[in-house]
């Protein structure tokens, strides 16, 4: 599954025999130069994390309905894949970290990666527009612009789909890391409905 330049570090913890909180941390180390097969690891990691979420949610008592469980796991997979793809595309260091934590009524996903400080102004401008506007309307505008512009490296639709189609709130945090880089943490707070019978 991994080439020689890629590492997974898995860390899981519970807070007791009857765990109320479970955490999963995955650390990917992907070479900065694009290499065949490395982008695919974003998807594989999302699949793995979604399966972990499925197990967590299945063991919840009382359980979610089968349909709701499937729907939530599908959202987890989409959200994590998109956040990892963004981290992969804009990273300024090899390591990307994913943390997943199930709390009483949400599944928290945090993806961290280094970005170049030179990218921050553009990022803040984009996030500002994202937070001010209606995600569904921004999605429509963005796609219409893509048709006019032609080739685009990034579709820019991932965050809009997470916010609009999947109804998952996002938040961002930047922390200076030195050497002209900062750590960007993107947090997705995936609602988990009160358990259904």
């Amino acid at each position: 599954m991994c080439n020689m330049q890629t590492r997974y570090a898995v860390h899981m913890e519970t807070n007791g025999p009857v765990a109320r909180t479970l955490r999963l941390s995955l650390s990917l180390s992907l070479p900065l130069a694009h290499a065949e097969g490395t982008f695919h690891l974003c998807g594989q990691t999302a699949d793995y994390a979604a399966e972990f979420a499925r197990v967590l949610l299945t063991e919840r008592s009382p359980p979610l309905s089968i349909e709701r469980l499937k729907e939530r796991v599908d959202t987890v997979c989409f959200v994590i894949n998109e956040l990892l793809e963004n981290a992969y595309k804009f990273r300024a260091a090899e390591q990307i970290r994913l943390d997943l934590e199930l709390t009483e009524n949400s599944l928290l996903c945090v993806v961290r990666n280094h970005i170049a400080d030179a990218q921050i102004a553009a990022l803040e401008s984009r996030l500002s527009a994202l937070l001010r506007g209606n995600p569904q309307e921004l999605l429509r505008q963005t796609v219409e612009e893509h048709v006019l512009v032609g080739d685009t490296t990034c579709s820019g639709l991932g965050l809009l789909s997470i916010l609009g189609d999947h109804g998952v709130p996002l938040s961002w945090m930047l922390e200076p890391a030195g050497g002209g880089r900062s750590i960007l943490a993107v947090r997705a707070d995936i609602p988990i409905p009160v358990a259904e019978v």
Binding site: N81, L139, E144, H146, T153, S155, L157, D165
Partner: protein, 115 residues
């Protein structure tokens, strides 16, 4: 016409004028989606009055893939009076969430959700 990758397949059935999508599509941006976009543009260039995309077997599509589908809906709109139909599965959650967006790009769009 057929495009195959590691875990996906896209092909056109000229008898039914249906483009079928199957598997998991998580390609890396516009460039990697280029061959599938070319297939769709060839179908569009055939001058059909009705085009159907059958996505029932497409389990996963990333945002770059959605961008491609949305752009195709705009292309059909620009080609005039073409009926665009998308057949989707009720049992694949993302399809019910994201595919209704297609109506924003083409008023001649119909979404058929099946079990």
């Amino acid at each position: 016409m057929e495009i195959k990758g590691g875990n996906y397949r896209v092909w056109y059935d000229p008898n039914e004028t249906v483009v079928h999508f199957e598997g998991i599509l998580r390609l890396g941006g516009t460039q990697e989606y280029g061959p599938i976009e070319e297939l769709l543009e060839k179908v569009l260039a055939a001058g059909l009055r009705k085009i159907t995309l059958d996505l029932r077997a497409l389990k996963f599509l990333n945002s770059s893939g959605m961008n491609m589908i949305y752009k195709f809906a705009i292309s059909t709109r620009k080609h005039g009076d073409i009926q665009l139909t998308v057949i989707a599965s009720k049992s694949i959650p993302w399809q019910d969430k994201s595919l209704p967006n297609l109506k924003k790009y083409n008023s001649n769009f119909e979404l058929v959700l099946v079990d």
